[in-house]
């Protein structure tokens, strides 16, 4: 009986995670695509020490960051994947969303300032611990994108 309740709880969480997670993801991607299209005209350029600095008036640091949580369905899928091995496809979209969102936030910030180019952008990903108490692996990821806006 106890086991039955647990299984039921598990399945409910799984279904909840799947539908809500997918809904959020779809919505997020829609917003990402729209904003990426809007900001496409501002180039992001990484260049090395041998290239000479471009001739501009002003430069400033811009950073964009986002913390995205995994959903229960993704978590369980990854747990199974952990036993089988191979590509964890459910996490791919999570990290992809995080990176693009962080880049966009940085870009939008820089555009507001009046940047016409963003130079030497760096990206970093970190995991933020899971929900309180139990240290049950990665609960969410933080992505930060930062670079120099010039005008």
């Amino acid at each position: 009986m106890d086991a039955l309740v647990q299984i039921l709880f598990f399945v409910v969480l799984l279904i909840l995670g799947y539908f809500w997670g997918r809904y959020f993801e779809k919505r997020h991607y829609k917003s990402i695509l729209r904003r990426e299209k809007k900001t496409l005209n501002i180039p992001i350029v990484n260049f090395g020490a041998k290239q000479s600095l471009i001739d501009v008036q002003e430069a400033a640091l811009f950073a964009g960051s986002v913390v995205i949580s995994i959903d229960y369905f993704k978590m369980i899928s990854a747990a199974f994947r952990n036993l089988v091995g191979g590509r964890v496809t459910v996490y791919e979209s999570l990290l992809d969303r995080g990176r693009r969102e962080a880049l966009l936030r940085m870009k939008e910030d820089a555009i507001k300032w009046g940047a016409n180019q963003i130079l030497n952008v760096r990206l970093e990903t970190a995991t933020i611990g899971g929900s309180s108490g139990n240290n049950s692996g990665p609960g969410s990821i933080e992505v930060i994108a930062y670079g120099t806006g010039v005008k």
Partner: protein, 113 residues
Amino acid sequence: MNNKKEKNVILTTLEGVPGQTIMEHYGLVQGSTIRAKHIGKDIMASFKNIVGGELKGYTELLQESRKEALERMVEQATELGANAVVNIRFSTSSVAQGVAELFAYGTAVKVES
């Protein structure tokens, strides 16, 4: 993360400041802050862990902390007499469960146009 209020210290991820020449190098400056998440945000987060989506509370918390790390780095730089920090990098590492260190570092320089 605007540089205007920080006593006009120019911050950049480039090797130099565009339109200006580096006159003096003062070496590496760094700023760090160690933060713990708090329980209120944690409850929201554990709910979000089921349905997914952005954790706005955490995003803001980390942005704030990163800003603090950057401010500390700038403080070091101004103490040295620099008016710019070039080649800035950020890094995040979790020190313990629920505790993260946000770290910023760069090279303090004096630039002149």
